[in-house]
């Protein structure tokens, strides 16, 4: 039976998109005029594999398109064509185009035909010089609509006897034909030999196929592309003028004819074959079987080192386990020490194993950064600015899930910097700055988090403008006195835009509030620093992974909860004189110079505490989403890393709780969502008031 190619689709798409990224970064790195041969080669190779792959899988649109790019690149590689700004632009556009095509093929959706045709025409123009574009255009439009007089094709398909040995399957070819239009197939069985001479590895059949519909000859030739040399194929046009296929290959003469008497004996089973062939063809006619690829199946590429590490680690674990097993069989007082050693070793193994498994999900942040060179290049062209993009710390590793979710917010922030931050060259000169502006992306690890900084040396954020805008929008009062930090924080408020004019570049519906929300959902924070006239810095802090967090175990009554360590500022014992209450309701705790609202966890969650007196318990000062609160708890238990489990998988989200985890004794403990908790207590005190 034929191999189900669809199982390889995912790999093909993964590799192709990777190839596109390589092409893009290669093209961006090309120096106009003095192109580096190695870079062109890299780009060429990437294009070549996409072409090869797409042809194999029958994505002809992609293959044809890539072929054009490849030709152009080939000329550049040979040095027969200069690398010009224009050609690089077109190649970059082609990369976009390919991305569009591949995505369309992957999702089985429509692609933007006009765009593809435009780029295609452009490429052809480049290839053939300027004098032929008209002709090329004609051809291009031809291929989509032309020759209405074709009603169908008669196809005589006579495969060579040995066709099966070349790995081709005529059934598959006919199936493929059936995708082009309705087909009628008649199988010719004249050549079937005597049963005694019958060799099951050979093909004795040939087919006459009528393909209905207006189908381009090229499309049909494409189907038979792989078997050109191993079959006689005659194409005859129905309806239009008769066209003979020049691909009628002479190579093979088909086996000797068989005496008519024997023919009758074998006829019956062959008819069955024919019938089954037909039914198969009708199946594919409905386009059902071929086109079911799971769409959002994501995969990850892991370096072999990491996998080897993992295997070593598992080996050690097995050794430790067998050692413990042996010790456990006869426990004597002497062996207790050994047993403890073994357990300690087991603990180390487990921890290392956990770390390596986590490392598998870690990818360098360059995956998220690599789109920016292109984006900044395009944007600066569009806006008439001169901008240099610097990427630092590209090798900093980060969990794949976090990476995927941070992509869009980063795009938004970089776009903001380019659009609103960096001034035009003239403005910059007038301000005594170099004409070329700089945007810098920097990533590094700090503690258990990854920090991503976006710096620009543009005009900075004008505090007064923001404040005025905020007053206008009613976010703050004109009389409020705000710290710089608080003012910068205002830009994250929903519906807040300082852009006087919503340009094409910004104002695409993703506001800063969404950026902030996305980052918060990842358990991260965002902070803005800016100096008017000097530039701004946006600092994003994210947890390295979403699966594990450092937690502080706390106890309220009989229940254990976990507070993420990242949100804890400090824990302290309460001194009575530092508590003051407002209106007998809200309590405030005076911490140095600040008054912090006290949230009694037992009240918010409806629990029974050891004591309701603040002095008997502890207050954990926590920060979430910009606000601070003191959580009143009975006791602090300990700190440990906890694996986050979702409550939503089998239940639903619960306010004030971000998830759950399983403690060492097998029981479940809930992880507190600090900002949710603060909101919750605010709501309940409002209700009480």
């Amino acid at each position: 039976m034929s191999v189900d190619m669809s199982q390889f689709y995912q790999t093909f798409f993964d590799e192709s998109f990777e190839g596109l990224d390589i092409m893009e970064s290669g093209l961006l790195g090309l120096d106009i005029g003095a192109a580096d041969a190695e870079t062109i080669n890299t780009v060429f190779r990437a294009a070549h594999s996409i072409k090869g792959g797409s042809a194999t899988f029958g994505f002809t649109v992609v293959a044809e398109f890539t072929h054009l790019m490849e030709t152009l690149l080939d000329e550049m590689r040979d040095g027969t064509r200069m690398v010009t700004e224009d050609s690089v632009d077109y190649l970059l556009k082609s990369v976009d185009c390919l991305k569009e095509l591949l995505t369309a093929v992957q999702n089985e959706s429509e692609y933007n035909e006009a765009f593809v045709e435009e780029v295609k025409a452009g490429l052809e123009r480049l290839l053939h010089g300027d004098d032929v574009p008209v002709k090329v255009d004609g051809e291009v439009s031809d291929s989509s609509t032309s020759k209405p007089e074709i009603k169908g094709w008669n196809i005589e398909f006579k495969p060579a006897e040995y066709l099966l040995k070349t790995g081709n399957d005529p059934v598959r070819l006919i199936n493929e034909l059936s995708l082009l239009g309705k087909i009628e197939t008649v199988c010719c069985i004249d050549n079937i030999p005597l049963f005694s001479e019958f060799n099951p590895e050979l093909i004795y059949l040939s087919w006459s196929i009528v393909l209905h519909g207006n189908v381009q000859k090229e499309k049909i030739s494409e189907v038979f592309e792989w078997v050109d040399d191993d079959a006689d194929i005659v194409l005859t046009c129905i309806g239009g003028e008769q066209e003979q296929n020049n691909e009628e290959v002479s190579g093979v003469e088909v086996a000797a004819p068989v005496a008519p008497t024997e023919k009758i004996e074998v006829q019956a089973p062959v008819e069955k074959i024919e019938a089954s062939l037909k039914s198969e063809i009708h199946d594919t006619d409905k386009k059902s079987s071929l086109k079911k690829t799971p769409k959002d199946q994501s995969s990850i590429r892991v370096s072999i080192d990491k996998v080897d590490d993992l295997i070593n680690m598992v080996g050690e674990l097995v050794i430790t386990q067998s050692m413990l097993g042996q010790l456990g069989e006869n426990v004597t007082p002497d062996s207790i020490e050994k047993l403890q050693d073994g357990l300690a070793q087991l603990e180390r193994n487990t921890r290392e194993l956990q770390e390596s498994v986590m490392r598998i999900r870690m990818l360098p942040i360059s995956f998220a950064f690599q789109r920016f060179p292109r984006m900044v290049r395009d944007l600066s062209n569009q806006l008439g600015k001169e901008i240099e993009l610097r990427l630092l710390g590209e090798q900093t590793e980060l969990d794949k899930t976090v990476m995927e979710k941070i992509g869009d917010p980063l795009v938004h922030l970089v776009r903001n910097s380019v659009d609103h931050g960096i001034e035009t060259p003239d403005e910059r000169e007038a301000a005594g700055k170099p004409r070329m502006g700089t945007v810098e992306l920097n990533a590094f690890h700090q503690g258990g988090s990854i920090v991503i900084e976006i710096n620009d040396d543009g005009k900075g954020i004008d505090k007064d403008v923001i404040f005025a805008k905020a007053v206008e929008k009613g976010v703050v009062n004109a009389n409020d006195s705000l710290t710089d930090e608080q003012i910068f924080d205002l830009i994250f408020a929903p519906g807040f835009s300082t852009a006087a004019v919503v340009s094409d570049v910004s104002g695409r519906g993703v506001g800063m509030d969404v950026v902030k929300r996305n980052i918060r959902e990842l358990g991260g924070t965002i902070e803005v620093k800016s100096e008017k006239g000097k530039g701004s810095t946006i600092i994003i802090r994210l947890p390295l992974t979403l699966a594990i967090l450092d937690g502080q175990l706390i106890r309220v009554g009989a229940d254990t909860y976990i507070i993420p360590l990242i949100s804890i500022i400090e824990s302290l014992q309460v001194k009575k004189e530092q508590i003051s209450s407002i209106g007998g309701q809200a309590e405030l705790y005076k911490l140095r110079d600040e008054y912090i609202p006290v949230v009694r966890l037992y009240e918010t969650f409806g629990l029974k505490p050891d004591s309701e007196e603040l002095v008997d318990g502890l207050i954990v000062i926590v920060e979430g989403d910009g606000s601070t609160a003191g959580l009143f708890v009975d006791d602090l238990l300990g700190q440990q890393q906890v694996v986050i489990k979702s409550l939503e998988t089998n239940f639903r989200p619960v306010e004030g709780v971000s998830g759950a985890t399983i403690l060492g004794d097998g029981t479940v403990a809930l992880i507190l969502d600090v900002s949710g908790l603060i909101n919750l207590s605010r709501q309940s005190s409002e209700r009480a008031a």
Partner: protein
Amino acid sequence: MNETAAQPSEIDLGLNAEADQYLTFIMADEEYGVDILRVQEIRGWEHVTPVPNTPKYIKGVINLRGTIVPLVDLRERFSVESIPYGPTTVVIVLKVVGDEKERIMGIVVDAVADVYNIEEEKIKPAPDFGSVVSIEYVQGLASVDESMLIVLDIDKLLSSDELDAIART
């Protein structure tokens, strides 16, 4: 492999191998049945972790081999007077099929009763007869050995919408 196929012969009432099997349990002296293919496991009552700000009948969550599974007390779910959990109190862990996904949930009931084979046509639509469980959640009635068995529609009973709706009011 043949476990399920062999089972009917071991059960007295297993006359017809094509009938569906139902696990029954007791709650407030009534016998209820759930499709046995939905039952993941039966556990004794043990410590649960309460979840704050959820309806009272959500007893909390437990750790079922690494996944967090919520438990619903059926008595409290239907506002029947609760009885203290005793040695027969069990948790039946069920697979609930919702609109979007499957979830695993547990119900706390007084005791597990039996497993019956019931042919589909023997399950009759239930009249509104004032059982403890509101008629909405009853798939039908079946009689087994002169006594009545209420077959529950657990998907409806434990769907998240249902839980949310009650939580909000």
